[in-house]
Symmetry: C2
Subunit: 593 residues, 2 copies
Amino acid sequence: MADYKAPLRDLQFVFDEILNYEQHYEKLGFGDDASPDIVSAVMEEGAKFCENVLAPLNQSGDAGCTWDDGVVTTPEGFKAAYEQYVEGGWASMSHTADFGGQGLPESMGICLSEMCGSANWSWAMYPGLSHGATKTVKLHGTDEQREIYLYKLIEGSWTGTMCLTESHCGSDLGMLRTKAEPVDDGSYRITGTKIFISAGEHDIAENIIHIVLARLPDAPAGTKGISLFVVPKFIPNAEGAVGERNSLACGAIEHKMGLHGNATCVMNFDGATGYLIGPANRGLNCMFTFMNAARIGTAVQGLAHGELGYQKALAYAKDRLQGRKLSGADNPDGSADAIINHADVRRMLLTQKAFVEGARMLIYYLAQCVDIEAHGDDDNEMNEAGELLALLTPIAKAFITETGFESANLAMQCFGGHGYIKEWGVEQNVRDARIATLYEGTTGIQALDLLGRKVLLTQGESLKRFTKIIHKFCKAHAEDEALKEFIAPLAQLNKEWGDLTMHVGLAAMENPDEVSAASVDYLMFSGYVTFAYFWARAAQTALASDQSSEAFYQSKIKTARFYFQRVLPRTEGLVRTVKAGGKSIMSFELDEF
Amino acid sequence: MADYKAPLRDLQFVFDEILNYEQHYEKLGFGDDASPDIVSAVMEEGAKFCENVLAPLNQSGDAGCTWDDGVVTTPEGFKAAYEQYVEGGWASMSHTADFGGQGLPESMGICLSEMCGSANWSWAMYPGLSHGATKTVKLHGTDEQREIYLYKLIEGSWTGTMCLTESHCGSDLGMLRTKAEPVDDGSYRITGTKIFISAGEHDIAENIIHIVLARLPDAPAGTKGISLFVVPKFIPNAEGAVGERNSLACGAIEHKMGLHGNATCVMNFDGATGYLIGPANRGLNCMFTFMNAARIGTAVQGLAHGELGYQKALAYAKDRLQGRKLSGADNPDGSADAIINHADVRRMLLTQKAFVEGARMLIYYLAQCVDIEAHGDDDNEMNEAGELLALLTPIAKAFITETGFESANLAMQCFGGHGYIKEWGVEQNVRDARIATLYEGTTGIQALDLLGRKVLLTQGESLKRFTKIIHKFCKAHAEDEALKEFIAPLAQLNKEWGDLTMHVGLAAMENPDEVSAASVDYLMFSGYVTFAYFWARAAQTALASDQSSEAFYQSKIKTARFYFQRVLPRTEGLVRTVKAGGKSIMSFELDEF
C-alpha cells in the first residue's frame, strides 16, 4: 500500500477554483514569484519530497527517539531527510528575502506543511517548531538579534523552539516560575524547568534556539510579568557560528501516546545565558502576535491525519473482500464483495472525505488572510483579514483537530480488527492525531477564546463579519434551483448562528459560567456551519464548471450533498445543548461527582 | 493517585434499588446462594482482589508480552495474580456445581468481570476468554468431553480460546479455510492458520483448550460448512492430566495499539489433533447460542474503560489548579482554581459519568436476562428474556463501547497535554478501549444485526417488546410532576423509535442498502433512548428514596438531568440522518471517492 500521495488535484481545486489564488497573489505583489506555474511546480516538487523521502520514514519513526545523558537521537533517516529539506530550500521557502528567504507567501508554506505533515507529522514538527522562534526574533528582536539568528533559522541550519509550559502551568501561564536574572553584560541568567518542549533537543541541526518565557526579578505577578528570552543551545560566536555550549540540557524525553518520532523534552535551564527579546513583562503580548499562525499549524495537523487515514482506508475498502452488498452481489464470481460496497463503510469513508476536504478549504481560506495580514497594503483589507483570522482560527484549530481525530478513528474502523494492529499504520495515525486537540490550547481553551474573547467581547461584531460573507453568498445563489439543497439550510443555520450567540450572550450576562458551559458545543456548531459554507461553495463551483460531469466535480457535488444530509444535522443537537445552558452542570456539589 | 476503586456504592444502587436483584435471585432459586449478604461479601472481596492485585499490574503490563520461538511470557505479576484468582475460587464462581462450579448466577460473574476489567482489562482477558470454550464444551460436548475439559476449565487450571478469524476473513466467516481431516480413531487432523487469537498462548495456566472453527472435507461452501473442534495445547492423558504436546504453535504475537498485556496470537495448526464438538457443519449455529454472552462481555469493556478514565479524570480535576472560575474565584487564596470549577471540565466529567453509570444499569439489566435464560423455569419469562437479550445485546455492545471510547477520550482531555504522556495511564486507557468497537463484531456489524436481523426481520416485534416496557414506565409516572422533565422526552423518543423503524423498514423494502446506510445512526439513536430509560428510572428511584437529599441520590437526579439536557439531544441529529437515507451514500461511483 502506498504510504501517501499528495492530493494535488484537490489542492489545485481549492487554490484555483474555490479561492482564486492567482488573483490573490497578484494583488499582494506575488504575481511573478508565485505565478500559477510556479505554484504548481512547487507543489509537485514538494509532493515528491513528501511522498518519497518523508512518508517512508513515518512508520519506522514510530520506534521513537532515544535519550542518553542529555543527547537525543532521532529515528533513522530523520537527519538525512532534514538535510535534504534544507538543501532543497524548503526551509527558507516562505520567508521574506531580507534574511535569506525565498520570498514565497505564507500560504505556500502552509501548503508545504500540509504535505510534509500528512506524510510524517513527527518529522514535520522539527522544522515546524522553528516558525515560532523565527517569528519572535523577526517581529520583536533587535537588529543585532535578527542578524545573528534569522539567517540561520531561515536557511534551516538552526532550528527553534518555544519554551512556555512548566509542570504546574500550561493553559494558565500566569503561574510560571522560570526566573531571569540580569547580568552586567546585558544578558540574563535563565533558571527553571520547562516541559513538553517539542524538538527541544535533537541531532538534526547544529544549533537550537529556544524562546523562553521567564520572569524578571521585579516582574509583577501573573501574566503581566512574563518576558521573552532567546536562549541558544550553543551561544553564537563573533562570526555567527556555533560557539560555547550554554548551560541548559534536555533532562528527559517524554514517553507518550504517539508522535514518537518527535522528541518531547524536559528542558532544564541552569543559569543559562539568555537575551531579552521584546519589551520587559510584555512577553505574552508579543507571543499573541503570532499565536494564530501556530494554531493554524495545528489545524493543519487535523487535516493531515484525516487525509492520511482516508487514503489508507479507501485503498483498504476497495481491496478487502468481506460480505455481500445488501442490494445484490457486486462481485458475484468472487468469494465476497469489496467492503466499499457496504453503505456503512461508505458512510465512514465519506465522513472522512467531507471533513478532510472541508478542512482544506477552510485552512487555505485562512492562509489567504495570513498572506493579506503580512503583505497587504490596504488597511481596511488587512484589518478585515485580521478580524476574520481572529474569529476563525480557534474554530479551525479545534474543529479540524476534533474532526481529524474522528476521521482517523473512522479510517481505523474501516479496517475492522486489522486496524488495531501496528502493521497498517492506521492505529499510529490515531495515536499521532490525538495530541492535536490538546496542545496549542485544548479544544476547551479554543472554545473559550472563540465564544468569550472573539464573539462576546466584540458584541458579536467579529462574528457578523463572517456571517455577512455567508449571507452574501446565499443571497447571490438564492435563485439557483440546483443549489437550493445547499443554500436553504446554510442560510437557515447562518441565521441560527446569530440567534444562538444572542442566546448565550444574554445567559452570560446573568452568569459568566454560561460561557464555559456553552463553549465547546458552540464552537462545534460554528465549525459545522463554517464547513457547510465551504461545501456549498464547492458544490457551486463544481456545478458551474464546464467539466461538471467529470468524476472529480461529480464527487464534489455528491460529497457536499452527503455533508449536508448526513453530517450537518449534528448541529440540531448542538443548538439544543447550548440552549439548555449550564445549570445542570453547575448544580453539582463537589461530593456529588 | 489510586489506580482503581471498585464502585461498590453504585453497584449496590443498581443491584438493590434499580433492579431488585434480591427478588430476582430468589425467584431463580438463588435465594440462599446469592442472598444480599453473600452478594455484598462477594463484591467486597472481589473489589479487594481487583484493587490490590490487578490494578497495580495494569500500567506495568502495558510493557507487553514477549514471544520467543513459540513461547509467550506474560508481563511480570500476571501469572501470580492468576494463581491467586484460581486459589480464591473466582474462576469457578459463576459456574454450576455439576462440574465443580460454585453455583453463583451468571450476573455475579459479569459483576466480577466489570471489576477485574476496570482494574486491568489485559489481564482479565486471560480468564475471560475461557468462557467461550467452557460454554461450547458444556452446551455441545459429549459426556466424555465434558468430563475431560470442564472441571479443569471451570477451576481455572486450564484456560480456553475461540479460534475463529483467519487473515482473509473476520466478519465473513463463510470464507474460512482451516481444514479438519478425519482420522481412524475418530479424531481429526486440524490444519490452518488462525489470527487475532486472544490469550492463544501464555504462561499462566498449564493447558490451553482451543475451540477451532474448521471445515470437514465434504463440507458445503459458506457458513453452512463450518464445524467446531476442541483442540488442546496438550492432549489430556487417561488420568485427565496434561499429556502429549499437540502439533500447534503460536507463530507470532501481534504488535498492537493497546492491551499489550494480553497476547494476541497467530496460531498455526499443523495437523493438530482435534475432536469434533457438536454436529458436523453446524459450528456457527452452536456458536450463536452464546454469542450474546461474549458481546455483553465486550460491552463490559466499554463500561470498564469509561469507569477507569472517569476515576482518574475526576481525581485530577479536583487536584489540578489552572485558571479561574468565570463567575468568581473558588480558591482566591490559591494561585488558581481547581479545574473542576470550570463548566467545560464539568461537562466532560459529567458526560463520562452519565455514560458509565448508564452502561452499568443496562448491563446488569441484561445480566438478569442472562440469568433467567439460564436458570428460569417459566417458558414465557425465558422467552421474553431471550428476546430482550437478542434485541439489546447489539445495542449494549456497540453503544457502550462507542461511548466508552468517547469517555476514555474525554478523561484524557481533562488532563490537557499531560493526558498524552504515559505516566498518568489515561492514554493507555484510550488505547486499550479502542479495540472494543472492533472485535466481537464491529459497531457496523452490531448495527446490522440490530436493525436487520433483530428489528426488521421480526417486523418490529422484538423492538415493541422493549418499547412497551418503556411505555409502561412512562405511563406509570406520567402524573408525577417531579419526573416530568424525564418522562415527557422519554415518552416522545420512545414513540419516535417506532416511527423511525417504520421509516427505515419502508425504505428498505425499496432498496436493501438502506438498512446498512441507516444502521449505525439507528443503533446510536437506540442506545441514547435506552440509556434515557435507565436514567429516568435512576431519577425516579432516587427521588422516591427516603434518603433522596443525600449526595448520592442528589447526584443521580442531577446526572439524569444532565443526561437529558446535555447528551440526549444528540438523538435529533441521528433522526435526521437516518431519515435522510442512503441515496447520497450509494450514488458515488468508485472513482468518485
